[in-house]
């Protein structure tokens, strides 16, 4: 199950709206700390496919400028 820590850059005027939409997405945990233009979240998914769909959905939200990855752990996806 991949886990990632992301920073989402949003349009200030739509920050609230983006927050609300992200909060209801399964697998997204918004961090309470944020700024007017930066949101921080952790994403948990069952597999890479779901993870990709999630990042795609976030990026497609109105008011989202960009999604950046700060951390990505996929240790239980790797057959070591």
């Amino acid at each position: 199950m991949p886990v990632s820590g992301i920073v989402v850059r949003v349009q200030q005027s739509r920050q609230q709206q983006v927050k609300q939409l992200m909060e209801v997405m399964e697998g997204v945990e918004l961090h309470p700390a944020c700024t007017e233009e930066l949101l921080v979240a952790t994403l948990e998914s069952t597999d890479y496919r779901q993870e990709h769909e999630l990042t795609d959905r976030i990026q497609a939200l109105e008011g989202v400028f960009s999604l950046s990855v700060a951390y990505h752990n996929f240790e239980d996806m790797v057959d070591a």
Partner: protein, 772 residues
């Protein structure tokens, strides 16, 4: 994953994201310190930005990655492509053994046999056809070490200049224009310009998708500074256009006219910086009607002739805003506004570009024309002000350009045609100067044509996929399979190039080997080997040295008692020391998150040519700008009068549309790595042809309809994309080149800029038909 471990990982993920966002931490860092992973640094390999990544390894496998908080380029963040970085190592079909062609099949053979065979084929070619017939097709994705070994292998070992990289396809026009304008390759500024400027002109660069972290820096600047304006000058509406403050569409090839139109207004309205021009600029015109290189063995040499400022202003009379409107479609009033923005004394202006200007049959010219605007206004080589050519590959600058893996080049901007440069190289390489041939042979496109003609009999391709990426590639694929040619391809995965090879050598990639990349801001970054390559895969550098040993010049790569990578780099460094191309000692790169060159007196020069930052400039004058590398031009930059000339193949009744090619966010270049990442493959499984909605209506084409594209070179069936991500201008279609099952380069034209020899992948004529 245990719950406790999972909570720990989530906490680490949140902590990294908070830190990168500049927000307070939730836990003391010590609480998350021991995560059971061994972390090592590396630059990302998916674009020329050069973001720092930390790679987390356990049990010999990569288990995690994070943005490197200490990396000044990206300060802890990677773009969304960061999700896929490590996955490219673990595709199911990694090449793990040397494979020899037997008829239509490939059979595994031992390394010894493979290397003996390469040496034997090179020896046979040398005997029958001479050194020029032995060729190496290299890469802007080679590490610095690999590029250096390949150059030395070819120029000092084989005694052949038949080496050229895929960077010829992406950066050559930028190189040619940097050289003929400033006498030194690569930008003067650095990425801090993205934080410090207030007016950004993007010339055909889709930065939001192709250089996301840099684009984020620019837009973050805009959030802080309401004065910031981003102006997207382009032929296709993209995500970048959407986020820009202004989108200005011009017709293909008309960037030449637009840039001259901007200069026209600046000169007409006397908005230029007279003192700067007098002190730092000389004016020239070059040859005109210079051709397109579509015929084999095409040759062209430019010749500059000095002109006065008056002559230049007369030349610009052809580019009044009205005339520019007619050529480019940009309204005359807009041309004037853009010129005034560029010249506004209260604005710090930067220009950014990549393939739009470089992949152009007048690529060198159009690069020159953008420099002209900065030279006219004196907005250059200062924090937040200057022209900046971005790169597509992670080491287009560090390897291809700085090491000089081109047919005409040697390290540190030197060229084989200059006897003093050859002598210096021969001294460092400890070979007789006669060993290094004085004449360049084949640039990348001509190299493939020479393979077809039979002038090249042995070709070694490393870290590149030219048989998908070269323009008009159908001709070259057939060439590779002709009798009497021996093609070796070193790669990590099967590609359309391994498919036409005689021998395939399995290569290690990225952190499976030690290496260095140099990014677009002159920052050279080092990484250590962090995991083992699969099976018998070996680094390209090892492959070259083993063949060198078999050919009797292994001594070129012997450094007894020394670490090989360090010794190679320290030798390479000798080329640039004291020339303004100074690199730092190897140990520093091992420690730092990259070091910008020139590195002088223990410091990186952030803005070259500027006395405030550059000790070389201070040697010339007390204060101001000195283009000290342009010795032949009295240390001045050259402003070139370059006209508009049409594209090589313009749409007509039979082929009424423009065809342009490029990338999509999900896939890197020819897709050999990213198509192996299932999530990316699923997201964008095939190349689509983008159409303007009005053109689609006229042709009766709806989204996902099957469409047949036909050029004078071939036909290709694709599905349509209408009104989705990118919208090309009316009368144009756009197709990405990643899809190996739908090779758009079977259709593109191998016309190139006669000065830089870089092909134009952005313009040829195409017919568009709806199928069924």
């Amino acid at each position: 994953m245990q719950i406790s471990r999972r909570s720990f990982v989530k906490a680490a993920a949140a902590a990294a994201a908070l830190a990168a966002a500049g927000l307070p931490a939730m836990f003391p860092p010590a609480a998350l310190a021991d995560d059971g992973l061994v972390w090592g640094k590396a630059p990302c390999r998916f674009c020329g930005t050069g973001c720092g990544v930390l790679v987390g390894v356990k049990n010999g496998k990569i288990m995690a990655t994070k943005g490197d908080a200490l990396a000044p380029v990206n300060k802890g963040l990677n773009c969304v492509k960061g999700y896929n970085l490590s996955k490219i190592l673990y595709g199911e079909d990694r090449l793990t053994k040397p494979l020899l062609r037997q008829g239509d099949k490939f059979v595994p053979i031992s390394w010894d046999r493979a290397l003996d065979l390469v040496a034997q084929k090179i020896r046979e070619t040398l005997e029958t056809s001479g050194p020029d017939a032995v060729a190496m097709f290299g890469s802007g994705q080679w590490t610095v070490h690999e590029g250096y070994v390949a150059t030395k292998f070819m120029k000092a070992g084989i005694g052949s200049n038949s080496i050229d990289p895929n960077a010829r396809f992406c950066m050559a026009s930028a190189v040619a224009a940097f050289m003929n304008t400033f006498g030194s390759d690569e930008p003067m500024g650095n990425y801090e310009d993205l934080d410090l400027g207030d007016t950004y002109f993007l010339w055909g660069a889709n930065m939001s998708e192709c250089h996301p972290i840099l684009f984020s820096r620019m837009t973050a600047n805009r959030l802080k500074n309401p004065k910031v304006q981003i102006i997207d000058l382009a032929t296709r509406f993209t995500r970048t256009s959407q986020e820009a403050d202004r989108y200005v569409e011009f017709k293909p090839q008309a960037d030449l006219a637009l840039a001259n139109g901007i200069a026209h207004v600046i000169v007409r309205e006397k908005l230029y910086d007279k003192a700067f021009l007098a002190e730092n600029v000389t004016l020239k015109k070059g040859k005109t009607n210079i051709g397109y290189g579509v015929e084999d063995k095409f040759s062209f040499t430019d010749k500059g002739e000095e002109i006065s400022f008056h002559e230049y202003s007369e030349f610009l009379k052809d580019y009044s805003p009205e005339k520019v409107e007619a050529l480019s479609g940009v309204p005359a009033a807009t041309v004037e506004e853009l010129a005034r923005l560029y010249a506004d004394k209260n604005r710090k202006v930067c220009s950014y570009w990549t393939m739009g200007l470089n992949q152009h049959t007048r690529g060198t010219w159009v690069n020159n024309l953008v420099y002209n605007i900065h030279l006219l206004t004196g907005k250059i080589a200062k924090p937040g002000e200057g022209p900046f050519s971005l790169t597509g590959q992670p080491s287009a600058c560090g390897t291809a350009r700085e090491v000089g893996t081109f047919t005409h080049r040697l390290p540190a901007d030197m060229v084989v045609t200059n006897p003093a440069h050859r002598q210096k190289a021969a001294d460092i390489w400890k070979v007789p100067v006669e060993k290094i041939p004085a004449k360049p042979t084949y640039h990348a496109t001509e190299m493939l044509r020479a393979l077809d003609r039979g002038d090249i009999k042995f070709l070694w391709v490393q870290c590149s996929n030219p048989f998908q990426a070269a323009p008009n590639t159908g001709r070259f694929r057939a060439a590779a399979l002709k009798e009497g040619r021996f093609v070796v391809v070193s790669d990590a995965y099967p590609t359309r190039s391994t498919e036409v090879a005689d021998l395939i050598l399995p290569s290690s990639m990225w952190v499976e080997k030690e290496g260095m990349f140099g990014n677009a801001e002159r920052r050279t970054q080092h990484w250590f080997k962090q995991v083992e390559p699969p099976g018998e895969a070996k680094e390209d550098l090892w492959q070259l040295i083993e063949v060198a040993k078999r050919l009797g010049f292994g001594n070129l790569f012997e450094y007894p008692g020394q670490d090989l990578h360090k010794a190679l780099f320290e030798e390479y460094r000798l080329f640039g020391l004291g020339t303004g191309k100074d690199l730092a000692p190897y140990e520093l790169y091992q420690k730092e998150r990259g070091v910008i060159w020139p590195y002088v007196n223990g410091e990186s020069v952030k803005w070259r040519y500027n006395t405030e930052y550059d000790p070389y400039a201070r040697k010339e004058k007390e204060k101001g700008i000195s283009f000290y590398k342009n010795k032949k031009q009295h240390k001045k930059a050259v402003l070139w009068a370059r006209p508009f000339e049409p594209a090589a193949e313009v749409p007509d009744n039979d082929y009424p549309f423009w065809l342009s090619t490029g990338r999509v966010l999900e896939h890197w270049h020819t897709g050999t790595m990213t198509q192996r990442v299932p999530a990316l493959h699923r997201a964008v499984p095939e190349a689509l042809v983008e159409l303007h909605p009005e053109d689609a209506v006229k042709l009766g084409i709806r989204n996902r309809d099957k469409v047949l594209l036909t050029t004078r070179r071939g036909s290709l069936e694709l599905r349509a994309s209408v009104g989705e991500r990118g919208v090309p201008g009316r009368g144009s279609v756009f197709v990405p080149f990643f899809d190996e099952d739908r090779m758009i380069n079977d259709l593109t034209l191998d016309a190139f800029c006669p000065i830089s020899k870089q092909p134009d992948y952005k313009k040829c004529a195409v017919k568009v038909e709806r199928l069924g």
